[in-house]
């Protein structure tokens, strides 16, 4: 890690708060207006009630399906959205009242290819944000160079960003998120759309940041990523936290079950739906998009369910069938489907 980034994780703390992030009953309701002459107002609840705390130096994961409220929560904590009710502090600063103090001390890394000035080069992107964050001029250029070297982008630093690959853009997002040497880094799906190798590289970089004392709040769709990286994971569903524990703690929610994993071809949505009606089937997930389809069934019956599987899938081809121990993804599926109380 470069020297300019070696900050204490506690630096910049406002009060005696012993938590890096505190969210208390955060709620966000959006007012949506439809129609032109007859305007009709409706309310959309994006986040219903979210409470959690993140310790200094912790890598905390926030996972949930699309529309669960992950991004809205992160935006409230980073001052990009004002909460409807509830309270949140970052480094002891109130996100609604101490907006500038929070902004000065946090880094934001959004996933995807957008969020960069693609017509200019990486150095100019970095320099612009260094100026917006008020990075002292005497260390600005040195820090830009060190961050781009750390991210493996220095050799291409003078090329326009539009010529970068997805992975390079994501690394530039990370570098940009560190330009103000933040105490806390908020990462919203930082590996989305990346190929496995680049995603692994990004995860290694995130891990390295935490080893250097940074606090990271990460949202992700990928359970194995949360399992691999996070010390604790909160699962959010319909705007509420439904579970918060370490990855191993969350797996205990499904210790009473086995996972029957079937690889096959010709499996239909109708057949998948049929499994949901079978007694003692707690959760079903299927990836039917590829040639080699994968169906996962959570059940306490274990191998006893095989005859029923064969009956339902009699018109499909089964390549492989395994009985597995449940993973964090299985726990997640059960939690978001609501079958764990």
């Amino acid at each position: 890690m470069v020297a300019v980034l070696e900050l204490s994780s506690q630096q910049g703390q406002a009060t005696s708060s012993d938590k890096a992030i505190v969210a208390e009953h955060l709620c966000k309701v959006f007012n949506v207006t439809k129609g032109f002459l007859r305007r009709k107002k409706t309310q959309v609840v994006a986040v219903k009630d979210v409470s959690f705390e993140v310790n200094y130096g912790e890598l905390f994961g926030l996972v949930g399906p699309n529309g669960a409220g992950k991004t809205t929560t992160i935006k409230m904590l980073t001052t990009m959205l004002i909460q409807t009710s509830g309270k949140a502090t970052v480094l002891g600063y109130d996100v609604q009242k101490d907006v500038t103090k929070v902004r000065e001390r946090i880094g934001i890394v959004l996933g995807g290819e957008r969020g960069l000035y693609t017509r200019v080069n990486a150095i100019d992107n970095m320099r612009y944000f260094a100026d917006l964050y008020g990075v002292p001029v005497n260390i600005r250029d040195k820090r830009i160079k060190e961050l781009l070297q750390f991210m493996g982008l220095w050799d291409r630093a003078r090329d326009r960003v539009e010529t970068y690959s997805k992975g390079m853009k994501q690394r530039l997002h990370l570098a940009r998120g560190l330009i103000n040497d933040p105490n806390i880094i908020f990462m919203d799906e930082p590996t989305i759309g990346l190929d496995p190798e680049i995603a692994k590289e990004t995860r290694n970089m995130i891990r390295e940041l935490v080893e250097k004392g940074k606090t990271v709040l990460l949202t992700t769709h990928y359970m194995f990523e949360a399992d691999e990286l996070c010390k604790r994971v909160a699962i959010i569903r319909n705007g509420e936290i439904v579970a918060l524990d370490s990855p191993s703690g969350l797996k205990k929610y499904v210790m009473d079950t086995s996972v029957v994993e079937i690889e096959g071809f010709g499996i239909t949505e109708k057949e998948v739906a049929q499994f949901k009606g079978v007694t003692d089937v707690l959760a079903v997930s299927a990836d039917l998009s590829e040639n080699k389809q994968v169906l996962k069934i959570q059940t306490p019956k274990g191998s006893e369910i095989i005859s029923e599987v064969q009956e339902i899938l009699k018109n499909s081809r089964i390549y492989d069938l395994k009985i597995k121990e449940p993973t964090l993804e299985d726990a997640y599926l059960r939690l978001v489907e609501g079958s764990v109380k």
Binding site: R103, I108, L110, G115, Y117, Y128, R176
Partner: protein, 274 residues
């Protein structure tokens, strides 16, 4: 350098880099002024009096205002397209300073627009452009550009909330151009238009430019009419003074609006809508 100036400069620099990376700026800044000048000179061909400068400055102002308005609206939309608006808002600096930096860069391009008009009129259309006081002429042009930019800032604040700033910029281009007396002096416009004309900074700036150019007509220029043709120097500074006061008011209004609009955008979640 104070942080405010640093942010304005950095936004200005980034906008310039984008302009340079995109050679399409040649179209609004050279080709369009050529067309404006041609149209204006054709319209005033048969007119007697100091209409050569009116025609040329009118075309120049049209290009400059169009450029600034388009760019002010585009400043926000550009950030939305790039997906950078949230990141810019999430930085500790004031969004107004960022947009101000962009507006100044637009003003500079507006200036190239005006210079292009003058050169085209003089070299291609052989219009005699004897400028009485080149220093005051340049000064009033630069200050008018800043006033136009400040007016653009007010509109830019509203564009934070809109899904398509282009609709507004298209609708606002001609009304401001006509009401500010860019091509037709305000005195020739219906009386009920005058209040709207006199709250526009560029209206006074254009009068100042015309006085410095030495081709202003007392009956068509507010302060020259008040203090008399012989006190043209005083009339010039009165025009500049009023323009600066109005420009300061624009900046104050823009500061207030940006604060309100940013809070509203953060409350309604409209920062990412493109």
């Amino acid at each position: 350098m104070p942080q405010t100036l640093r942010v304005i400069y950095s936004a200005f620099r980034l906008a310039m880099l984008h302009w340079m990376a995109d050679p399409q700026w040649v179209i609004p800044n050279v080709i369009a002024p050529f067309v404006f000048t041609f149209v204006a000179l054709t319209l005033f061909k048969e007119a007697s009096g100091p209409f050569g400068l009116y025609a040329v400055l009118g075309g120049g102002m049209m290009g400059m205002w169009g450029n600034t308005l388009y760019s002010s609206g585009f400043a926000i939309e550009f950030e939305k397209w790039q997906g950078t608006l949230e990141e810019v808002v999430a930085a500790p600096s004031n969004l107004l300073h960022v947009i101000a930096g962009r507006s100044v860069s637009n003003a500079l391009f507006g200036l190239t627009n005006m210079v292009a008009i003058l050169l085209i009129a003089s070299l291609v259309f052989r219009v005699p452009l004897g400028v009485a006081n080149p220093i005051l002429f340049t000064l009033s042009m630069v200050l008018t550009l800043l006033s136009v930019s400040a007016l653009g800032l007010i509109f830019a604040s509203a564009f934070v909330l809109t899904r398509s700033a282009q609709v507004f910029t298209n609708g606002l281009e001609f009304p401001i151009y006509v009401v500010s007396g860019s091509m037709f002096p305000v005195a020739l416009l219906p009386f009920w238009v005058h209040p709207a004309a006199y709250i526009l900074g560029p209206t006074w700036g254009i009068d100042a430019i015309r006085i410095a150019g030495g081709q202003a007509n007392a009956s068509l220029t507010f302060w020259l009419d008040v203090v008399g043709q012989e006190n043209a120097f005083l009339a010039f500074w009165l025009d500049v003074g009023v323009m600066l006061l109005i420009t300061l008011a624009y900046v104050a209004i823009a500061t207030f609006l940006f604060k309100k609009v940013e809070t509203k955008a953060r409350r309604d979640g409209t920062l990412v809508e493109a």
